[in-house]
Symmetry: C2
Subunit: 343 residues, 2 copies
């Protein structure tokens, strides 16, 4: 694959937006990060003033991970299908936040280790396999599965954009998923397991040591293959993470901005930016999670989070919680009086 570089949001529109920001009836710089976000939103839209960011769509990519059978999580993998059903019932945290903000949420089973009997067929339409491989022992996916998962994410992005999305969010559900996410980030940033491995849903010190050892074992097993993004996803990722990476890369190629969530979403973003270099210019960081790999990856992508609330839930929750602030940014740049109007 020859990755095609993604053009950034319009530099000309960015300049025009920055100039309008300076002319608002507020002291220079007084809007802080909201001002920066407003300029970014305008540039992604290609227009000044920006239009309201009304249609925001989140997709939760669900999947299980073989490594969760090896003592890396505080919860059993049976939670994954139970939570998929909770999303469908609109009772997960991200569902509640999305309902508050008028954000649509679509949950897709890419690799849940369960048949999800009785669940609507659209939920499993993109399923790649039941559980991805235990990455410290084997590849997460075959080469063919990896390409199919990336393609699934790309297809879903195209569907969401066709449905009118002005802003996309990639959420996650899957017990054990911080382990492959940490491995993907370590592999992409050239870091050892000890710097990226975190407590996930809340493991103790002993379990953290064990998890760190498994992440390092996975990195050692993958070896030089991590030089290629698709090989990286096959060796260290999962069906859901590969789909999320494809989803974000496709959004950036189509010129639709994405708000990132926690460590799973940011791991996928790192891979999206490797699949489609320059994609990160279309991403904003919704929040800072407590996972060390997330902050390291955001720094690599050059992104500063909107929120820093100590959240570590995943699901897309931190990204959806940041949506009103991104909307505020666009509204402020469009609707605040200009200094020249004050007289």
């Amino acid at each position: 694959m020859n990755p095609e570089t993604v053009a950034p949001p319009s530099p000309a529109v960015r300049s025009e937006a920055a100039e309008r920001l300076t002319g608002l009836a507020t002291p220079p710089g007084a809007l802080g990060r909201l001002g920066d976000l407003a300029v970014w939103v305008a540039a992604t839209q290609g227009q000044v003033p920006p239009v309201p960011v009304e249609r925001v769509r989140a997709v939760v990519f669900a999947g299980d991970h073989g490594v969760s059978d090896h003592g890396v999580s505080a919860f059993p993998k049976a939670i994954t299908p139970a939570m998929v059903r909770t999303f469908l019932a609109g009772k997960a945290a991200v569902s509640v936040l999305a309902a508050q903000h008028g954000v649509s949420v679509r949950v897709l089973d890419l690799g849940v280790d369960d048949d999800l009997e009785g669940v609507d067929a659209t939920v499993t339409a993109f399923k790649i396999r039941r559980g991805s491989g235990a990455i410290h022992l084997e590849d997460a996916l075959t080469a063919d599965e990896t390409l199919r998962a990336i393609g699934a994410g790309e297809a879903v992005a195209a569907e969401e954009i066709a449905a009118g999305a002005q802003l996309l969010i990639s959420g996650d559900m899957g017990i054990g998923n911080t382990t492959p996410a940490a491995a993907l980030i370590a592999a992409s940033l050239g870091l050892p397991a000890s710097e990226v491995t975190g407590r996930g849903t809340g493991i103790d010190e002993t379990t953290l040591s064990h998890k760190t050892a498994l992440v390092q074992q996975a990195l050692d097993r993958a070896g030089d293959r991590v030089a290629d993004p698709i090989d990286t996803l096959a060796a260290l990722g999962s069906a859901d993470l590969a789909a999320a990476a494809g989803f974000m890369a496709a959004a950036a190629r189509a010129g639709v901005p994405v708000v990132l969530d926690g460590v799973i979403s940011v791991a996928a973003a790192i891979l999206a930016d490797r699949l489609a270099p320059g994609a990160a210019a279309w991403f904003a960081a919704g929040h800072r999670s407590t996972e060390p790999a997330q902050s390291l990856a955001l720094a690599k992508l050059g992104l500063e989070p909107v929120l820093d609330l100590g959240m570590r839930l995943g699901e897309g929750s931190g990204a959806v919680a940041a949506v009103p602030l991104i909307r505020s940014a666009a509204l402020l740049l469009a609707d605040v009086a200009l200094l020249s109007d004050l007289g």
Copy 2:
């Protein structure tokens, strides 16, 4: 005056809310600060689960400051009445944010140095004087004016609560107002001017040195009178700041929570907590501003801000921007599935 201690939000309800939080279908602690806020909101409401925080009302207390004629601000005081008119036109930054979030905004002239000709009489109904005194040279207010301003704030809070407010916000408008705000915080915390004085709307190094000297001169002039909160407001405050302090103290006495904004709002909160000891338990910090005195005062009040976006606009803007997150907190605690429901 014998300040009456304000009882905190119900500890019993707080415990019950914390217990419900633990039982949600999320890993323990995964909601981070949103979980803490949810418990606080429930306690202020006296019920678990909390009801949605729908009716949020902001009051902008506007006023001028004699010190603004002495080279402490980047802007001339003619901006104050111009901005009052901008609020009334719904074109200020806080107006735009409030419209987004369905928050009502009421602007009141407590001490603008202008007659605001043609403006609706309700805006000036609580006016104390045209411009408060230059605090490095003279008292901001007489004893009588101070009590009337505090009383005005109390009356306005009562009106807003009668109108159904579940959450109140105190905003500000007034060129030069970071100077008395810094002085009030320094006086209340026992700090020198050098630790509290900031750049306000964006002054240069030379002007900052001059502003710091004037704040210290004001503190030296006030002397021991800062031991009493009402004397502190008379010597170092202003009509708008005294009204905001009365507003917040009255809200806390009535058991209605308040979201704080930047340094002006937090200076008023410090005085409110001195007028009505314990009031701070009814306050949440909306955001961290770039003014050093704001962070010092929040630490004194034991409050951690929801947002940290480098905003320094005032008007109530940072508090209104935080409203969707406070609403999220209440909704999450009420609507997310319980672990016991997952089966």
